[in-house]
C-alpha cells in the first residue's frame, strides 16, 4: 500500500504544474492542455481517497470528471478554431477584444 500523503503530494505537484501552465502559456491549446493536467490531479486525489476511505464514490466522481473534461475539450477546441478563423492567431495575449 502506498502512503496516502505521498499520493497527495504527487497530485499537488501536478495541479501546481497545471496552474502554472494556465497562467504562463500563451498558446490557447496549451492552456487547455494545462487545464487537463489540473483535472487529472484532482482525479488522482479522488481515487486515492476512494481507496483510503473504502468507498467507490470517489471513483464514480473521477468518472464524471473525465466525462466533463471530454465535453470541455470539445467546446474549448471549437472555440479555439473559431478564434483562429477570425483572428488568425490563438495567442491569448493578442485575443484581447474584451480588454480596453
Amino acid at each position: 500500500m502506498i502512503r496516502l500523503p505521498l499520493v497527495l503530494f504527487f497530485s499537488a505537484v501536478l495541479f501546481s504544474a497545471g496552474v502554472y501552465g494556465v497562467l504562463a502559456r500563451r498558446n490557447a491549446v496549451l492552456v487547455l492542455m494545462s487545464i487537463e493536467l489540473m483535472l487529472n490531479a484532482v482525479n488522482v486525489n479522488l481515487i486515492a481517497f476512494s481507496q483510503a476511505l473504502h468507498d467507490l464514490t470517489g471513483q464514480a466522481f473521477a468518472l464524471f470528471v473525465i466525462a466533463v473534461a471530454a465535453a470541455e475539450v470539445g467546446i474549448g477546441l471549437a472555440i479555439v478554431i473559431l478564434i483562429y478563423r477570425n483572428r488568425e492567431t490563438i495567442n491569448i495575449d493578442e485575443v484581447n477584444l474584451l480588454k480596453w
Partner: protein, 203 residues
C-alpha cells in the same frame, strides 16, 4: 517491498517530469506528447490505487480521444510554430517561485493536520470492490448516481452539438440571402450539396 510501491516510485517521477517538460516545451506538438506520457503514467497510478476500470477509461478517453483531438486541432490550424516563453511582467518568475514555495508549505501543513504523514490506506479495499471493480462501480453509478449519470450524458450531447455548430464554417448570411432573392421562382429548392465537414465532433 511491495510491487505497487515500486510502480509508484517509477511512475510518479516520470509523470511529474513529463508535466514539467510539457510546460517548458515551446513546440505545441511536443508539449502534447509529454502530456500523453503524463496521462499514461497517471493511468498506471490509478491501477495501483485500485481503480482498474478508471485505468482503462483514462487511456481510452484521455489518451485515445482527447489528446488525438488536441493533436488534430494543432495540426489543422498549423499553430505548431515555436512560442516565446519569455515573461513580460518583470519579477513575475521570482514572485511565482516564492508563492509556489508558500503553496508547498501550505500543502505540507494541511496534509500533516489532515491525515498525517504516515497514513496508509487500510487494507480491505477489495470488499468495496465486491464482484470486481467495474461491476461495483457500475452498481454505484446506476443506482446511487443515476441522475448525475444521465445529466452527464445530456451534457456530452450538448457539447457535441455545440462543438459542431461552433466549428462549422458558415457561409455569409448576406450572400445567401441575395442569392435566394435573385432566384425566387424555383419550386422546390434542391438542398445544397453538403460540403465535407471540416471537423467531426468527439464527445
Amino acid at each position: 517491498m511491495a510491487a505497487d510501491w515500486i510502480v509508484f516510485w517509477v511512475c510518479a517521477p516520470i509523470s511529474i517530469g513529463s508535466a514539467i517538460a510539457m510546460l517548458l516545451q515551446r513546440n505545441a506538438v511536443h508539449a502534447a506528447l509529454f502530456l500523453i506520457v503524463n496521462l499514461f503514467t497517471v493511468a498506471v497510478l490509478y491501477l495501483v490505487l485500485g481503480a482498474p476500470f478508471l485505468f482503462a477509461v483514462q487511456i481510452i478517453v484521455y489518451a485515445g480521444a482527447i489528446m488525438v483531438l488536441f493533436l488534430f486541432v494543432i495540426m489543422l490550424l498549423g499553430v505548431d510554430r515555436e512560442e516565446r516563453l519569455v515573461e513580460r511582467l518583470r519579477g513575475q518568475r521570482t514572485a511565482a517561485i516564492l508563492l509556489g514555495l508558500g503553496v508547498v508549505g501550505e500543502v505540507v501543513f494541511a496534509i500533516r493536520a489532515g491525515v498525517g504523514f504516515s497514513t496508509r490506506a487500510p487494507a480491505g479495499f477489495g470488499a468495496a470492490n465486491g464482484g470486481g471493480n467495474p461491476q461495483a462501480l457500475g452498481r454505484l453509478l446506476f443506482r446511487a448516481y443515476f441522475l448525475p449519470f444521465e445529466v452527464t450524458s445530456i451534457l456530452l450531447m450538448v457539447a457535441a452539438v455545440a462543438a459542431m455548430v461552433l466549428a462549422r464554417r458558415r457561409e455569409r448570411p448576406v450572400a445567401s440571402a441575395e442569392r435566394r432573392a435573385q432566384e425566387p421562382i424555383e419550386p422546390s429548392e434542391p438542398s445544397e450539396p453538403s460540403e465535407p465537414r471540416e471537423e467531426e465532433p468527439v464527445g
